[in-house]
Structure formats: structure tokens, C-alpha cells
Amino acid sequence: TTLSRQDDTYIQTMKGQLKNDGCNEDSSSFNSQHSPTSSTIENIPNEVLLSILNYVPSINLLLSASRISRQFHCAIKDNVLWKLRLKALAGSTRVPYLKELNLHQRQRCCLFTEAHCRGVSSPSKPGSNDGSGNDGGSDIPGIAAPKSLLLPRDMALHLYNQHKCVALSTTTDNEGENIENVLPSLNDINGISFSQWGTYWSSAPCPSGDPGASDEVLLFTTACPNALISEVAIKPFTEVNWQRKTYTWCGIVISVYQSSEETNDEDDKEAKNMVGFPCVILDNTECDSLPPGHRQSRRRRRTAPKSNLIKTVLSKSNCRLVYQSQQYDQEFKLDDEMQTYKLPPGIVGNMVTFTLVGKNFRQFPTSGFYACVDRVEVKGTPLLRHARELEGLEDVKSWFV
């Protein structure tokens, strides 16, 4: 696009100004030298300015456009701009689930979603774009990199002892094979340890592996009150000590729920979802009764099922289903690689469930069918309500590394 040629003095001064950063021109003297041609962009109505800004990526809007002038600054703080942008990114079907977000959360959503639509995932160094000639151009800031949204394992176990759960499973075989084992650990040890005990989750045995008759639901809450969830992953567990066997499932369905603090339930004594840092489920219910004929090992006590608790939590009036995937079939029964599932843009929630449909293998020919999981991951970006929400919460910040 050609520049205005109305004033030679203006052009000459502008050329000098555009020498990258080495320019010695005093900006105040520049302003007094140029011809007082009225800035035509300032005559543009606000709604038209919003149309123009609609085509500018979020990173450019926030980093450079917001510092151009008061007019631009005000336009970029207009909630309408970000509502429309988010609707365009996420699709109109997601709008009902996104309307409760505030301006800051919408900006975070747009920034993150645009970065992932481009397929860029590596963060840039903090501060590298401040005041440079290319601020907000091609670098992706750290905020746009997907982060783990799950509470670390040790913290989860600590809360579990206080009857606060961040992970639930419909069944668990033995103590020590609990669902918290699959959460990210800050102290992961690389290499093979002698015993795999305590590093995986195992379902209780099931007489049948048929889909529908032996499904398991694994539920995980996020470490923040609200999150934009971009991908989830699950890794089947392979037993190596007794025999090499991977306890996979026939298919998997991924669901995302959003639980709010308000509830219309009059009797909310049993299971209660608490939304915060992290989101927890208070497990004050009596344990589900164990199935008849249940045999308890002296060394490893079998854990009571939590299927009723999970159903109660997900059916509460303040808990709504935000997204449910199709069923993904397990192509290779022995595949124990991490299986990653990308979610469509605009999925905002604070609980994720993995429904493991059916089971493929028995442990021994005479035993029941099992499903076992080595690791789970839920990634995205925390939707903080404002930029300073984590100030003073150093421990919480470390959860999102």
C-alpha cells in the first residue's frame, strides 16, 4: 500500500523515523515537523475500527495495537471485539458455554487458540518482544504454550487423605493402584525401576470385557477454576514383571464438564464440587458397597468402587457437559504409546472424563478382565480471571509448569 505523498517534509521525516531503532530523531520534534494532515483513521467510526481490528491477530492487538493511540486502546478493550473473535474461532455452537467469560479470559482464549490454529507450539523468551520493531510478529509468547492442567500426583495424594479428590475412577483393584498414580509427577524418574507398584492405575477385575458391560470412567479435575482445554492424552499400562501385557480397552470417549460454584441442589451434603485452585470433589459419601463374593487380599486391600460418586458429581445441577467426543476405537490392542486427542477450539471446563469402553485382556486365563493406565495428561491454558490472580500463590504457579 502506498503511503501518503501529500507532504515531502512528512515523507522525509518518516523515512528517517523508520530506520530501525537506530533512529536519532526525537519523536517530539518529528511530530512538530510533519504537515498537519488530519489523521483519517481517527475519522473512522468505532464499529469500523472494530472491523479492521477483527483481521489483526490477537498477539498484535495486545502487544502493539493497544499502544498506538487512545482510540485503539479503547477499541481493544471493547468486549464486543473479543466476543466476536472468540465466536469466530470456536464456532457459534460454543457461544453458550463461553458467555460467562470476562474480557481477560476471552483475550487468553483467543491468544491461545490462534497460536494453535497456526500449529506453533514453542514459547518465546519473556520480554523479547518489548518495544522492538517486531513486537507481536512471529514469536509466540509463553502464555500460548499448552500447559498441564492436572494437579501433581504428590499434591493429589495429600488432598486425598483429607477426603478431597482431584481424580476418581469407577473401580480400582488394590490400594497402591489408585487413580492418583497416573497424574503428572514432579519427581519422575527416568529409566526402569525394579517394581512397577504405585506407578499405574488398575481397574477391578471384570468377568467380561464386552463394551457396555465393563466400561470404566476416569474423572480428573483441573488445577484451576476454569481452563481452556486443548488436548488430552492417555497411556495404557504395560506390565513387565510377571509377563509382558498391556491392559488396553476397546474404545475411549472423552468428555469435558464445567462445574460452577453455584448450585441449585437443596441437599448438597454428599458429594460437593469445589471450584478453585485446584478444583476438588469432597468425598463425604459412604463407600459404595463392594460387590458380592469380593475377596480381599491380606497384603493389598481392594478399594471400594466410586461409580455412584462419579454419577452424583456429574449429574449435579451446577455441572454441565461441555463437550463429548466420538468413540475412538483402540486400533492396536497391544499399543502402549501415549494416545493424544486434540479437542476442538473453545472447550472451557474444569473436569475431564475418559470413558474406557470394554477391556481387551485378562491377567491370567482364569482371572477377570482388566484395564490399566500408566499416565494421563490434560493440557491447555488456565483461564485466570485477571492478570494478577496468581500473585502470592507461588505453589499454585508451579502446578502449571
Partner: protein, 175 residues
């Protein structure tokens, strides 16, 4: 000279548009449908005799700009602009607008470009508004605030205002 309105068999009767400087431009009926403003104004003239000339006053648009608008509308009849649906991201303007004629059309001097934006908004011509807004957005891409102010001839914010705006978005660089 015939006193009857010029009619193109394919494009319908001609509509005359009068600019701010009272200069008259002709626009085919098919092309005029692109503008909701012209459509509405034409509905007011429905009861008039078909043989009378229809002149629509576009008082807010200068001749130089109105000529460009007419040119756009006429061309759009034969080659509609592909919808522009997304932000610029890593794409350049030329990657989003692949139609050569439209790329050339909107490659004009800044004052005229902003006039086209305003005219498209006033006359409610959505494809032209999208195209012109995208071109303006292209000016803002990959440039610092200082460079954009220079190009658009906008006065600076005060140092305090600029520092506040910078601080407001520092959260973007959280790890």
C-alpha cells in the same frame, strides 16, 4: 440521443449515483444490489415511472471514492470476491486475497483507502468493507506501535498512557 434509460440485457436498468461534488456515476442494477443503502433508497422510488431516471444521492462520498466503489461493484458482478473469513496470522494479504484484480484495486494511497472504508460502511457494501479493512489491517501487521503511528499519522499517547498500556499486557509473557 435516446431518452430511455440505458439497459444492459444481463445487468438490468442503470442507476445513477451522485457524489458529494454532484458528479454522476452510472451503476448497473445488478451491481447496485451489492449496496444495501442503494437498495433501500431505490425502494422509495418504486412508485415512480420506470422511464424516469433514478438518481441516488450519495452525499457523504467524494467523487474519487465513489468512482472506485462503482468500479468494485461492477466487477463484483462478473467476479465475486471470495469471502474473507480469518485473521492475518502468518498469511500475507496476498495469500488471503488470491484474486489479482482485487489485490490491485485496493492498492491505493492511504487517504483514499480510508475513504473507501468509510464509503463501504456508509453504503453497506460488505465485501468491499471486508477487503478494505483487511488492507488496513495489513498496515498494522508486524509493526511496532511507533511505526504504525508514523504511517497513520496519529499523535502519540503520553508516556504514562503508553507505559500503562504496556503493563496491562505483560501477562502475555508468563511462562
Amino acid at each position: 440521443m435516446s431518452e430511455e434509460p440505458v439497459q444492459n440485457e444481463d445487468l438490468g436498468p442503470t442507476i445513477k449515483l451522485r457524489s458529494k461534488e454532484r458528479e454522476v456515476f452510472e451503476l448497473s442494477s445488478a451491481a447496485a444490489k451489492l449496496s444495501k443503502l442503494i437498495e433501500e433508497m431505490n425502494e422509495d422510488n418504486e412508485d415512480s415511472d420506470d422511464n424516469e431516471e433514478q438518481i441516488v444521492d450519495i452525499v457523504k462520498v467524494k467523487s474519487e471514492c465513489l468512482k472506485k466503489v462503482v468500479e468494485f461493484c461492477e466487477h463484483h458482478v462478473s467476479e465475486p470476491l471470495n469471502p474473507i473469513t480469518h485473521t492475518m496470522d502468518a498469511d500475507t494479504f496476498d495469500e488471503i486475497v488470491t484474486q489479482e484484480w482485487y489485490r490491485t484495486f485496493v492498492n491505493v494511497e492511504q487517504p483514499l483507502l480510508f475513504q473507501i472504508v468509510q464509503a463501504a460502511n456508509y453504503m453497506n457494501i460488505q465485501p468491499l468493507l471486508d477487503l478494505a479493512c483487511l488492507q488496513v489491517a495489513a498496515l498494522l501487521m508486524n509493526k511496532s506501535a511507533e511505526d504504525i503511528r508514523t504511517i497513520l499519522n496519529i499523535p502519540k499517547m503520553t508516556p504514562e498512557e503508553e507505559e500503562k498500556a504496556k503493563r496491562e499486557h505483560r501477562w502475555i509473557f508468563e511462562a
